[in-house]
Symmetry: C2
Subunit: 527 residues, 2 copies
């Protein structure tokens, strides 16, 4: 309130000066009249209807580091580079802050884009030129999809959960993946996975004493959406020494502690493969987690958006639904929500905003409430819906596009695996950096063991030490990474998240720029 | 809680029976063990983690009539019709419940879809076949748009507010419309207008004592989003006798009453052209509204999604921003948010989920908070962003597509005007129905003066009388309308909302079916 009062005072002073000058020029009677006739309206016009002191404090509290201060700094540098080429020791900004593959040059999967284009403009489907421009199976798939849409109207709102026929395709894809049945009525198509996570938080969080167990480090969508919905984030720490392992004893400990503090823990969020940590859970571990949720009566929120991104032979992706069903647990045993997105995988179609959640183990009346919330926003975008169906049902052996599709897919995934390994090795070769393997997902989360002098320098600047490191890295190299403090970490440890997404021909430069910067930074602050 | 206890009791009983049968077949030791070793886990497994009693009560409270009970009834009838053709006295369901033009056969604007298809699959832009399939200016526009997108990556997340170059186009479109400058940094692109409205509600509502002035009747997005964010809807009644006029005296009265009840009124929502009421505000009226918001220090939330839908010569659309600027009010004088969508107008691209809000008169620090909330969902879908830029910058005189574009646009708008008039006349010709003109938007909101016997019959069925009417109308004709009670109305009056969207060749049948039903209904319940 003090700031508020000060601002108002400043405004009143400037109004006074303004008024004087207006009086002498005899303009703007409106202003003068309002001063004379109604002093209360001066009050109101000088205090804006919305200030930081009067907005929803939940909004103020929410943080989202992935697009936070470091990105503003990067955008500023980018403008400087454009205005004055050569003004910095690099010629481009390399955005390794966010899992946004196509922004770094990854090409979309041709088949997917062919189908999308044909569904956007179906009147070319019958034209002979189209045969020359599009693959036969993309034309066929577009017809098939259009036939699933009432009136073939790709510009109409769909069912609030998404077009039924597309949900059938997705359910079939889930069945093929898991070997267990999937029900299209359990699928809610959404504009990417983020709105689905919000929807579940909105459903589960009643007040600040409702808690959600979240991994630390975590993807800040979780902390942000819990803050926006006014709940409590109940942290459980991943064990960095065990490759970011998820220990059920830790879940148990944090649950009990939260409960003893009066928190009603409602759900457990698990990100597998991990973000920002890149670990892939072992099946045994997943079984323990399912058992834990069942015993503790928690909803299991399974963020499985990186299900296609696995880079090590010894690990496989198993959906939590498959693991639960394999354990013999059905609808009545466990409440489970699985999130999937078209933004990740080998497709990386972030800008299309497609995704879904598969909601199982909820009663019909609760499901109706989820449906109602989905209805208030009418439906997710139809191109994103179509893409979600394609991602879960890509071309099959024998389709005209199959071979080129597989070549594109394998090319992207094997390149990501090589990039992950190269960057991991590079980080581990540096003094004072240790880095777990990225078994999956799109990130490395190296730990930086900073000299005491660097920590003190950061303190003097009122910055987290890893934020100082990331900011200096950006200034020196143009590489944008996100400080570990944005994801949460064991107090006193420092990290950053770096995507593995720069194109392969740029990786050597990334490595050499990182290395040179890091050595200089360490030398500068050596104790 | 009583229901909860009853459900648990029922479940425990069925568990008991289940257990007995399991014992005899000696299967599933898991269940039995958990009973024996840990009675608390029986409690937990018999009480699901989420029930109606334990979800966020704000979700329970939220209602959204446009996709409510009447739509479930319609979907049920549609399934019956498919399974058993001829089982009802109509052969199709006509969805007049929602402003979804393409679901009723409206064709998309060719130019818009050409550009979208080319942006989805840019690799065909250089191919010679493309010249034969697409107009020259759509190819040119696609190139132009791709050049605005960093790396031409239509599959990348954009800036959280939307692609800067597209916001430039939109700002230029707003300037051309209003004759006053627009700033691309004021534009936030969103997945349709609904998420933008939610974002503002989230920002403004701190607790149940924060209120938003909303018209009654209102589009239920407002009541739903206020309920979801836990605020108070402060109603102001539109004057049906004056063509759904908006009287500032009514605003003043309701504001004072809310304030005397301890409500802090934060904003005024105005829908112009009106939904569900179809009126178009006169400029003088808009000036009074702006003055009211300025004097009372309220944010003006201007829902202007029907800005292209005006059907009477004597009315024109004026944006509230234009009116404010014309009055001499700038950034420091009034906080104003204008919502626009690609779902309405002559384009009707509901399924593309494109839209924007133009946010003016907010301080930089508050704007940063809006940016942060937008960032948590990363960005709106790129096709929707592109479409929003096209809608605000359609083909111009001299462009190859211009003439066909204008023919399509005028064809749709003039047909909508004819349909609005025909349906209005039809309603007014019926006994006990009075209907204001649809000057704009996509709806009529006729009042039904129901016989006392019908009102009593509804009461006996625990239904609102207009809900009974709508349900009976659907059963008899297959026409889906939304009961007025879903929008709010003066107590004791009854209405329904009916879109003007059935294609013109279906209008005679709609009119004759409506007429026959209404006459029979009135005869059945005549006093």
């Amino acid at each position: 309130m003090r700031r508020f009062a000060t601002e108002r005072a400043k405004k009143l002073i400037s109004s006074y000066h303004h008024q004087r000058s207006l009086l002498s020029s005899s303009q703007s009677p409106r202003f003068f009249t309002s001063v004379a006739s109604d002093p209360s309206s001066v009050m109101s016009s000088s205090s804006p209807p919305v200030t930081l002191d009067t907005i929803n404090p939940k909004v103020l509290k929410c943080e989202y580091a992935v697009r936070g201060e470091i990105v503003s700094q990067a955008q500023h540098l980018q403008q400087e580079l454009q205005a004055k080429p050569g003004s910095h020791p690099f010629d481009e900004i390399l955005y390794c802050n966010i899992g946004n593959p196509q922004s770094l040059g990854q090409q979309p999967i041709t088949f997917f884009r062919e189908v999308l284009a044909l569904c956007d403009h179906p009147s070319i489907l019958d034209r002979s030129e189209t045969q020359g421009l599009f693959s036969a199976d993309s034309i066929q798939r577009a017809w098939q999809i259009l036939d699933l849409i009432p009136g073939r109207a790709t510009g109409a709102y769909s069912h609030s959960q998404g077009i039924k026929g597309l949900r059938d395709h997705i359910a079939a894809g889930i069945e093929a993946r898991d070997g267990f049945p999937a029900n299209p009525n359990d699928i809610f198509l959404t504009d990417g996975a983020s709105p689905a996570v919000h929807m579940m938080m909105q459903l589960l969080i009643r007040s600040e004493t409702d808690g959600i167990l979240c991994p630390i480090p975590q993807y800040p969508l979780y902390s942000a959406s819990i803050a926006l919905h006014g709940g409590a984030l109940v942290p459980y720490y991943l064990d960095e020494a065990k490759g970011w392992g998820l220990e059920v004893s830790e879940l148990q400990k944090q649950l009990k502690e939260a409960q003893s503090n009066g928190i009603t823990v409602r759900a457990l969020a698990v990100i597998n493969p991990g973000n920002p940590t890149g670990q892939v859970l072992a099946e045994d571990n997943q079984r323990e987690i399912v058992e834990f949720c069942k015993n503790e009566n928690l909803v299991l929120l399974a963020d499985e958006v990186y299900q296609e991104n696995i880079y090590v032979d010894e690990k496989k992706f198993h959906s939590f639904k498959k693991v639960s069903r394999f354990m013999g647990y059905g609808e009545d045993d466990i409440a489970l929500v699985s999130f999937q997105s078209v933004s990740k995988g080998y497709y990386g179609e972030c800008g299309k905003r497609g995704g879904y959640m598969e909601v199982t183990g909820f009663s019909a009346d609760v499901r109706e409430q989820i449906y109602k919330v989905a209805s208030v926003n009418l439906c997710s975008n139809i191109s994103g819906q179509i893409l979600a169906s394609l991602v879960m049902n890509p071309p099959k052996v024998g389709d005209e596009s199959y071979e080129s599709f597989i070549a594109e897919k394998d090319g992207i995934l094997s390149s990501l695996a090589r990039r992950a390994k190269t960057l991991e090795d590079a980080f581990n070769s540096l003094e004072g950096i240790t880095c777990n393997k990225a078994e999956g997902a799109m990130y490395l989360f190296p730990r930086i063991h900073l000299p005491q002098k660097a920590i003190e320098a950061a303190k003097a600047l009122k910055k987290a030490p890893d934020a100082l490191y990331a900011s200096r890295l950006l200034e020196a190299t143009g590489i944008v990474v996100v400080p570990g403090s944005g994801f949460g970490q064991v107090p006193g440890t420092w990290h950053f998240r770096c995507t593995i997404l720069p194109q392969e021909d740029k990786i050597p430069a990334v490595v050499s720029r990182l290395t040179a910067f890091h050595e200089a930074f360490m030398a500068e602050y050596r104790d």
